[in-house]
Symmetry: C2
Subunit: 341 residues, 2 copies
Amino acid sequence: MNQEKSTKKTTIYDLAELAGTSASAVSAVLNGTWKKRRISAKLAERITNIADEQGYAVNMQASLLRREKSKIIGMIVPKYDNRYFGSIVETFETMARERGLFPIITCTRRDPELEIEAARTMLSYQVEWLVATGATDPDRISGMCAAAGVGSLNLDLPGTKAPSIISDNFTGARELTRRIMLNSRARMGEARPLLFIGGRASDHNTSERIRGFRTAHDDIGVPVDESHILASGYAPEKAEASLASLARTEGALPNGMFVNSTISLEGVMRWIKRSGHYGGQAPVIGCFDWDPFAALLGDDIEMVRQDVKSMLEAVFSIIENGVTDEMLIEIPPIFREDFSG
Amino acid sequence: MNQEKSTKKTTIYDLAELAGTSASAVSAVLNGTWKKRRISAKLAERITNIADEQGYAVNMQASLLRREKSKIIGMIVPKYDNRYFGSIVETFETMARERGLFPIITCTRRDPELEIEAARTMLSYQVEWLVATGATDPDRISGMCAAAGVGSLNLDLPGTKAPSIISDNFTGARELTRRIMLNSRARMGEARPLLFIGGRASDHNTSERIRGFRTAHDDIGVPVDESHILASGYAPEKAEASLASLARTEGALPNGMFVNSTISLEGVMRWIKRSGHYGGQAPVIGCFDWDPFAALLGDDIEMVRQDVKSMLEAVFSIIENGVTDEMLIEIPPIFREDFSG
DNA sequence: CAAAGGTGCTCAATCGATGGAGCATGTTTG
DNA sequence: CAAACATGCTCCATCGATTGAGCACCTTTG
């Protein structure tokens, strides 16, 4: 209530004075080591009460400086603008807290420089582990962590210098392609080559998904149209622009599409609506990612959901039980029948 | 490259030894105060090079313990599962970094206990400001911050003990209701009472929106049907359940709906699709929040977008220029014509 | 009743970075 | 040429919590 209390923060020394005891007793009581340090239950209770009254909160900076382990775990994430990353972040926070870890998360907006800066900042905060999600240069981050003696993991996009947990993109894409093909055949009467749109051909996920896309075409015996593989980036505008340009040069577009992410799907749906290219009848669509509203957009839209929970269980299993031999762990994505929500 | 480097972290003392100088010189060079402390440019460069070679990163815990200001700014956010909060978090991070602050964000899943615990943890990390977004008990958080001499702000949901920045819910809801009414009249030939669904009547935003909803009915001269105000919570299931229950007791539902958030809209759209209540013709909908896919869901869906950028500019203006007299700052939301994306 | 052991606490060094104070030099200035 | 000043550093206390070591004061045991 007094002046000092509102400006300066309460420390264990203040509490010690109030309780008529030493700072080490206060420290021991508040961090739970008091039994080990043979402090009486009576004193412990008195200290606890005073601490509560004063609204005391440890100074983590001081505490962590002294401790050997920080219990801080960092995550770098590219964006918060879709359900996949949103769910990764939320699940990560929850699981970290369940394990007594303090999660710090930072969003790098797919900016390679920001990624490095963010990683360095995380190291400054003494993270014990750093999870790089969808990083543009995961190996660079792993290198920095290794030099600082900090563990690192890649999530969503794999690297070569740290264990990587990703979706089984090949199998998922193959099955998704098969389903689009079946839906398309049901509507059109025959199986025809699909369009692939979104992502960057240089990234592992996209190239694996394209491989699955090709394999599924092979499986059914339909040729792949190379000019219809448009890995033009993740932004909605990119997808929109490349569809527009393809329509300009080719005329009629395929009636089935494999869309590489919900972000790309945003652009695709916008173009379909704005251009009126398909008239009333939208194409049969499959999307490698899930969004509740996108799922309601039509009857012929198939969405695969990446299994975020299992992916993060794999992440924490490595953190808790140490690094396994496998450097690449692939988690099967979930198809419609499998998920309840 | 040696054993030590991989296990123990490099400190300024290590760098000082490598450079044949003192730790304070190293510290001054690396934190930019070297000119003020009259270190020669030559030595500064040598130290910088060695630091780079060693991949040195300051120990923030030690640094912050000594400093007076932490430059850490905290945000508490309820969920990451919609574009509104996603955009708040992403914008907040970006703006904080632009101002040389380090943002830490934590998600409390609308759990009141977790909120308090998160606030206490933030205080332990010596945040200078805490922004409580959509908090269930903002005043409790403000109280904790005040006791620790830390500034706090409320975002999205207002409180009474700290400045609050929120959307102008009343005016926004009034205009949104007017638009739904016009769309509905255009389709049905006459203006009829709308349905209000989602949110909690006890929270400020919902009650202000309901007030705007009523006022708009008055403006047009249409009575409000009290049994059609369903503030049954935020979860999609809640909205779905209360529509189902209403349809069971009343038969035909209104042909125009005011949906209080995209989260509720998820449940609404799901119910409309599953129940088949409306046949082919979905009701005219307005939603207080924006989502790109939801916006594409039909022609008669009007979405207001909360002006996240302006809201956060107001937040940082208070942080930078001090607290103004106003305790409640209301930011007008954005209607369709206004936004480009 | 002395030795041995237990109980309940305090002392003081420590973590790494910071910054006020101060110590050698070299350079002006009256 | 001495006083005054500038330059380029280093020394060391400090931030708050932690923890090994150790000091009194019991209580038990042979």
